[in-house]
């Protein structure tokens, strides 16, 4: 288990380093920030002074080395737009993104798990058909369009909920619902097929031959094993949601991490882009690490490695 964990940690560190490196070089391609920072018609001398101050006059590899070292200390530089530390600008948005992600994950998983279990247990009935049709539609619907449709119905037509922004529970409902639909559709489909696969396993027959009650067979022998791939899926979704759903945050004007990165890209605010992407990568990698750990708890065969 210790070796398994250590190799996973190493892989995680490597992945974060890779992402940070790519982002560093990609942002150099984006354009010259001095053009944005200085007023139009600034003298060449002003430009050079600023470039020197920002360290942009040094060779690119030296810049990369300096950037990497400061990033390790959590220093991503000062945001051009906000003139504050870039990491602060991004971290401030974490609670909003976290709240949205948490809501969507909780309700999405709950609904998806129940629906998936019903579809698998009521094989060949109208319930299965309804659940699977809904899940197929849910997976085929672009989330941002679903968000717009929900705004159209609940905000424009009925006037019950705000069209966007944040600050109250009412603001959370529509974006949360939109993302929950997406989450539950994926989970319902995966759990159903996973359950149906496990139900055919020999050890389920063994469990039934032991005379165990159907409830015990389902929870301890079927669901316990069917959950393993679902946990991976939840981990991937959690990572994506915690990284900030750019489109949904744009549709609902939700002040999250995804939106701030998007705005930084448009404004060529390098420090914020780098801080944001590094944060998202860390979240992503840490969620994956947690999933791997949970995997070890669920599956003793992996724990042994």
């Amino acid at each position: 288990m210790a070796r398994y964990l250590l190799s996973k940690l190493f892989e995680a560190a490597l992945a974060i380093w890779g992402v940070v490196t790519i982002v560093f070089f990609v942002s150099r391609v984006l354009g010259d920030p001095t053009v944005l920072l200085l007023p139009m018609g600034a003298s060449q001398q002003d430009i050079d002074t600023l470039r020197a101050a920002l360290g942009l006059d040094r060779p690119i590899l030296e810049q990369y080395g300096i950037a990497l070292l400061s990033m390790l200390r959590g220093d991503f530089g000062i945001s051009f737009q906000h003139t504050r530390p870039a990491l602060d600008v991004v971290l401030e948005r974490m609670p909003a993104t976290g709240m949205l992600a948490g809501t969507a994950l909780f309700f999405g998983t709950l609904i998806g798990a129940v629906a998936g279990a019903i579809a698998a247990l009521r094989r060949g009935t109208i319930s299965e058909f309804v659940v699977m049709t809904a899940a197929l539609l849910g997976q085929a619907t672009p989330v941002f369009w679903l968000g717009i449709m929900l705004i159209l119905f609940f905000s424009v037509q009925l006037g019950w909920l705000p069209t966007g922004g944040s600050g109250s529970l009412a603001h959370l409902i529509l974006p949360g619902l939109t993302l929950s639909v997406f989450v539950s559709a994926s989970i319902a489909r995966l759990l159903r097929s996973s359950l149906l696969d496990i139900m055919r396993e020999d050890y389920v027959r063994t469990a039934r031959a032991k005379g165990l009650m159907p409830r015990t067979v389902f929870f301890w022998h079927i669901a316990r094993n069917a959950l393993i791939p679902v946990v991976t899926m939840i981990g991937i979704i959690a990572g994506e949601l915690l990284g900030g759903s750019v489109v949904i945050e744009t549709v609902f004007a939700w002040p999250g991490v995804g939106r701030v990165i998007m705005q930084a890209i448009q404004a060529q605010d390098f420090p914020v882009i780098q801080a944001g992407v590094a944060l998202v990568a860390v979240i992503f990698v840490v969620t994956n690490l947690l999933v791997d750990l949970l995997y070890g708890v669920l599956d003793p065969r992996i724990r042994q490695r």
Binding site: A207, W220, P300
Partner: protein
């Protein structure tokens, strides 16, 4: 001897969208208490399905018991409620399945998997169950049982897992133990050890056993009675010695011929029964083995032979055949001398 199990006209079908599979056709037999019955047949002969269907372990649908009765201690199992079946399985009838690699739950400890029926049927507490699990593991010959109980199936070898399966099967001292291809997935030495263990256990706890296998050799060393099945029917049954020395069904004869003998090892190629297994989706008419039987008469294709006492043999030796195998073999013998 008093009968423990009486199977009467058991017929099982599987209905799929495109076809109906006639898995078990009109199977009847009696099993005495303490007897060991070896059921032999190739895959698709209905030998496993008939045993599983007795206690509701086949998927229904698509499976369906069309007719028949299964009297276990006088109670018709096919008429039991679900709840009564749950109470019976694992307690009065224990199972040992083939392929111990897939028949144990990979994510639960061995202790938990053996303790489950103990706690459910015998109402043992957690600590009582634990004690009993260790006893059972020792009984089936697993060394260091205390420690091994806390391990997972993947930490056991194939033979050891099969021992665990046996421990589960006998955990509640069942009156009947049904072993389905219990040694098939194991290599020959391990197989011999497991068979030795079962013989030993039978002496100790005196369970009635149904041993389902495709291997005539296994049956010879273990069973009192052998029952040969083909195409969902019983082709021949009787005391092991009688059936082995004096087979009356061409199918049994073929199976015995394909067994390796000490004397012919490496000299002659092993005999193989010609032809393919029967198409079970066809309406069962006639002797199912007829298309592969060199001795088949025209009647074999038309009419299903009943299972009747074999002429001039010991009591209990029964065969379902229109032809007389002894005569046919004698003719064959004579022809080869010419």
């Amino acid at each position: 001897m008093k009968p423990l199990l009486e199977v009467r006209n058991l017929t099982v079908e599987f209905n799929t969208a495109s076809a109906t599979v006639h898995a078990v056709n009109d199977v009847s037999y009696t099993l005495a208490e303490g007897e060991t019955l070896g059921i032999v047949g190739e895959s698709g002969s209905g030998k496993s399905v008939h045993a599983l269907s007795m206690v509701g372990l086949i998927a229904m649908p698509p499976g369906r018991v069309v007719r028949g009765e299964v009297l276990f201690n006088g109670r018709n199992l096919l008429a039991l409620s679900q709840r009564e079946l749950f109470d019976l399985r694992g307690k009065e009838i224990g199972f040992i399945f083939q392929d111990p690699m897939t028949s144990l739950n990979p994510v639960l400890t061995i202790e938990r998997q053996i303790a489950e029926p103990l706690r459910r049927h015998l109402g043992l507490s957690a600590s009582q169950a634990r004690k009993r699990v260790v006893e059972l593991l020792e009984l089936v010959g697993i060394p260091d049982a205390e420690r091994r109980a806390g391990q997972y199936p993947h930490e056991f070898s194939g033979g050891m897992r099969q021992r665990v399966m046996i421990a589960i099967g006998v955990s509640c001292n069942p009156k009947l133990l049904i072993a389905d291809e219990a040694t098939t997935a194991l290599d020959v030495t391990v197989q011999a050890q497991i068979l030795e263990l079962v013989r030993d256990l039978k002496k100790k706890i005196g369970t009635t056993v149904i041993w389902i296998t495709h291997d005539m050799g296994v049956v010879a060393g273990l069973a009192d009675t052998v029952q040969v099945m083909y195409g969902g029917r019983i082709m021949e049954r009787g005391p092991v010695r009688a059936v082995f020395n004096d087979p009356r069904s061409a199918y049994t004869w073929g199976l015995l011929k394909s067994l390796p003998h000490g004397s012919q090892r490496g000299v002659k190629r092993l005999y193989q029964i010609p032809g393919n297994p029967p198409d079970m989706t066809r309406e069962p008419v006639g002797d199912p083995f007829a298309p592969r039987n060199r001795f088949a008469t025209e009647r074999c294709f038309r009419e299903t032979p009943p299972l009747v006492d074999a002429a001039d043999s010991v009591s209990g030796h029964k065969v379902a055949a229109w032809y007389d195998l002894r005569q046919e073999l004698a003719k064959l013998e004579a022809a080869s001398h010419d």
